[in-house]
Amino acid sequence: MSSLLGVRPEDGRVVGLAFATLLLMVAAHSVLETARDALFLAALPAQRLPWAYLGIATLAFLGAWANGRLATAGAPGRVLAMLLVTGGAGTVVFWRVLAVPTSAALMALYIWTGVLASIVVTQFWVQLASRMDVGRARRAYALVGAGGMTGATLGSLLASVVLTGHEPRALLPIAAALFVTAALLPAFAADDHDTRDAPEPASDDDTQPTLRAVWNDPYMKRLVPLAALAPIVAMGVDFIFKSVVTHAVPRTELGSFFARYNAIVNALALIFQLTVAPRLLQGIGVVKSLCLLPGALGAVAAGVAGTAALPAALVLRGTDGVLRHSLHRAATEILFVPLSGSTRAALRGLTESLGQRGGQVLGSLLILAAITLGATPPGIAAAVAVLCALWLLGYVRLERHYVERFRTQLRAFSTTSDTTVPALDLKSLETLVATLSSPNDAEVLAAMDVLASVGRARLVPPLILYHPSDAVVLRALALFDDVTRDDVQEIRRRLLAHDLPAVRAAALRSLAATGKDHAVVRLMLREDTSPLVRATALVLWTGAKDTPAADLDDAVRDLLASPDPVSRLAVAAAFGELPSRLRLPVAQALLHDATPTIRREVARTLAADPDVALMALLTELVAMPECRVAARAGLLTLGDPALEHLGRVLADPATPNALRRHLPRTISPFASARAAEMLVTQLGHEDDGRVIYKLLRGLGRMRTDDPSLPVDRATLVGQAERTLERTVALLAYRVAHEMLTAEGEDLLGVLLAEKEQRAIERVFRILQIVETSEDFATMHAALSSDVPATRAGARELIGHVLDGRFRDALLALTDSLPPAERLQEAASALSVPVADTALVAWRTPSTDASVDALATVVATMCDDLSLAVAALARRQLSANLKETPRAAI
């Protein structure tokens, strides 16, 4: 039955005990309420009811305050049991007192009944919410609420039967016995607490919120007035109903009339609760479910205002009775689930006292005022219709804040990689400049790099070129590369006598770059003892404009002939000074059989001053990890021609995969509409999963940096749907695989699970590209959380921001159900042939149809695009299925 009602086995115990507890509590209340109404209305006029409402409201303030305290008490289960026992004892006292009924005693009974129900039921839901996340609540609350409906129906029937042979007063000890029985159930006993059930604290601080905090929170502050409107409308409906009934039904038949009517309404509510409410909560969500009661009551109240007939009043009260304590109650309780424990208890107390009881006081005063002013039931019905419209509007406006609540909670999972160096204020600039004088060389280097990264390299004084650290001097030479001031040139000349060859070579390169010091180049070529400096000088000399072409070619041949790594590295660092026609062949020669260090240096030199002739080589270098950063920078410098070239190479099926998979992230930094178009177009017909992943990452980065960048949504959505279908297929493989595989090491099972997760990640990446205003990356991260409440929050958010079969399939795939059940849910939203086949095997195990279906799924798996899946499927499953199909399942 539980699976039929959507409750999962792991929730069965909590939900079952909660169901039983609420059943007994509400049955007790229903019996007590029948006795109360019969006794009260038989002896007193309906016009006294508002005073009773006022009494309930006033005393319930105190009860709500106590409830808030009790909700956070150390042993919550015992608190509820204690309250129930107290309720039973108090009811017995009334039974004794009402042996001789008086007006005061009847009024006290009326108030007692209302206050007791308010306290114990509220305490019950607060304790239950502390063990729920929003996902479990949506699945379980309808059934738990059905416990209340069942209790109300059984209580009414019981009362009806008892009243056939006894006075209404006889119902009181029965109600007392039911309260005490409910107290005996261990539903929320402290020692029964299973930590697995405890949701995480919500993202807000887990301290009791002040009134100001509630007022400043757009979600919480709306719950209070909405809670106040509910009892005002309920009292209006109740007053209209009872006013009409007392005119239409003889007083002596009121007891049996109320018993029969309540039994019918409660039975209808139970049927609604079991059959419709769970679907509504799961299907249209919490807030839309809440809109049903005010919407329906408003419409019927408008009808009553026009007729004032008994049938219309019965329908009005019936609508209220069916919806209020079933769907509306369950959905209202879910509104408190996203709050942290303390916030929930405090806000529940606030909505109970200020909202519910305040609403009752206000409702009582309004009805008293209406009676004083001579208002008739139709007039009050018209007022109720207006209030329902306001109530409905309140819920419509609440939805945005309800969803925002989950967004806020998930922000803790937000990625952090977009951080950059903060904008520097005067104090931080002073810190950086002061660090340039640090005795620690590493700190000096760090300060220079940070200043350069924020475009403040000019704050580094040229005198740093005299720094005792070689590393600092080398970094400073690179930093001043474009500076041609005389003072810097003079220091460079002095550095030609530096002890370290690398410093001399760097100084020489800087000097030569200004085009004025060829004599120095010749001097260093002739006299320096270091191969590194001589090789550098040779490159610079051959690059001089006045070098004859033939001499130049000979010199280059000599340069490249040296196998000495130091010389080759020097050439790699300096060959950018050569005439452009020589750069490409020199680069290619240097790259032949090169070390990673030389390859990286070649890429850096090419990227420093790229031209179109080098475009193809730079593109090839993207495939090498050590060259990638520099090659991408060089291509970016070349602009549109490079972009078009990259697009052609990406689209060319002959391009090696080792290169293709790096092209999307090479194209994305161009950050133009054309670049986005190239990536989306390629996504439409790309087969290689790794390239698809990079395309998505590239597009994701572009859209994150510039959400206004246009993308072809249709292609992206199509890709998302294909990826979702692929995920369903992978899940179908898993289901078949689990049916065929015994316990033990299971590579295929692990691989399928990993690939399924990967496919889901891709779906979220695509969603993030399509809709940048939502944080789908965070939702995906939250779905991987170990905390059930966080996962449930992410799913709740997904349920609100997506729609249609796409949403249903994604929610099914990200559920915590076993694979076969997830597949069943997903396949009902998205048609994937292999999923249907796997489900045939699962639904009819150990049959010929199952064997045939499994064979089909395995055959599909063996032909899968993923080589690893296909290889493992062939190895682990196909032989097993072909040889001993029966044994296999």
Partner: protein, 308 residues
């Protein structure tokens, strides 16, 4: 000192990170993501940075100023000064070793939580790649301090499985018999697919000390003899991943390797490995953790007094 969020404090923390040799070549913008999640801490002389009860350590400290003595297994292991990292390998490896760190004098550190660092690395492959390179270099340094470079005796000699025959076999072999086995299966599948199967004959020369390291090999069958300067030699067998650390650290081969018998090897280039990891940040973090575990184990042996 309580954490400060003003720009100056952010820059100060960024400078500390940037001054670390490991991050010297990383762009400041990339390091800013790390700096944002760090906090400044001060310790008086005698105060403990790690008490030994927290296993694995949850916080990594970078020493800005002062000195700290690290104790491992109850014995003093190493003294740390500015720019030193404390708890890095232990945190990445999720090591259960007793680590106690005591400030010898007034000490300031920049600290980051293990989980925050992991999240950042998952989001930023450039940083992760740099960290991987640093851990690989640390592993190499530790190998140089241990007999047989810290490799154990070959364990699969007599029952070497067929691991090079097809893709499924290669995946199964990598999963069952190497420390790469804890990587995601799909990443192992990618590596197994990209790997080249080599079958060197006995006495075939794989590489010499000082050679450029561009690939690692996984020994599937047979034995490989390793030697340093032709003097110290030892054998490694199936399941050993050889040459990975220097390949990742971009350092030359630290010793020679020769096939001691007819051997089957899976050869994986650095480019293939980096590509596979870049496609799968989780796997990259997993490999980082695996390498850190190797390094952590080697360090415990060094701390235990083993010498070459």
């Amino acid at each position: 000192m309580p954490p400060s969020d003003d720009t100056d404090a952010s820059i100060a923390r960024l400078l500390v990170l940037k001054a670390m040799p490991l991050f010297a070549d990383v762009h400041p913008d990339e390091l800013a993501a790390v700096a944002e999640h760090t906090h400044l801490h001060t310790f008086e002389a005698g105060e403990r940075l790690f008490s030994g009860t927290e296993k694995p350590v949850s916080t990594i400290h970078l020493v800005m100023e002062g000195r700290v003595t690290e104790h491992r297994g109850g014995r003093p292991f190493r003294s740390h000064g500015p720019q030193h990292v404390l708890g890095g390998l232990d945190a990445l490896a999720l090591s259960e070793t007793d680590v106690v760190a005591v400030a010898d004098e007034y000490t300031r550190t920049v600290a980051i939580e293990r989980t925050a660092l992991r999240d950042i690395l998952e989001d930023n492959f450039g940083l992760l790649s740099t960290t991987l390179q640093g851990v690989a270099a640390a592993t190499l340094r530790l190998r140089r301090r241990l007999p047989a470079a810290g490799f154990g005796e070959p364990s699969l000699h007599d029952h070497a499985p067929d691991g090079a025959d097809d893709l499924a076999s290669r995946m199964a072999f990598l999963r069952r018999h190497t420390w790469l086995g804890h990587l995601r299966v799909r990443t192992l599948g990618q590596l197994a697919h990209d790997a080249v199967v080599l079958a060197p004959r006995a006495a075939h020369h794989l590489w010499a000390g000082g050679d450029t390291a561009e690939h690692a090999v996984v020994i599937v069958r047979g034995t490989v003899t390793c030697s340093i300067d032709g003097a110290v030699t030892w054998n490694v067998g199936p399941g050993t991943v050889l040459g990975l650390e220097e390949t990742l650290a971009l350092e030359p081969r630290w010793g020679a390797a020769d096939a001691a018998a007819d051997t089957a090897l899976l050869s994986i280039t650095r480019t293939q490995l980096i590509d596979a990891l870049e496609d799968d940040p989780d796997a990259a973090v997993g490999l980082l953790g695996g390498l850190a575990t190797v390094a952590s184990t080697l360090r415990d042996r060094v701390a235990g007094g083993e010498t070459p």
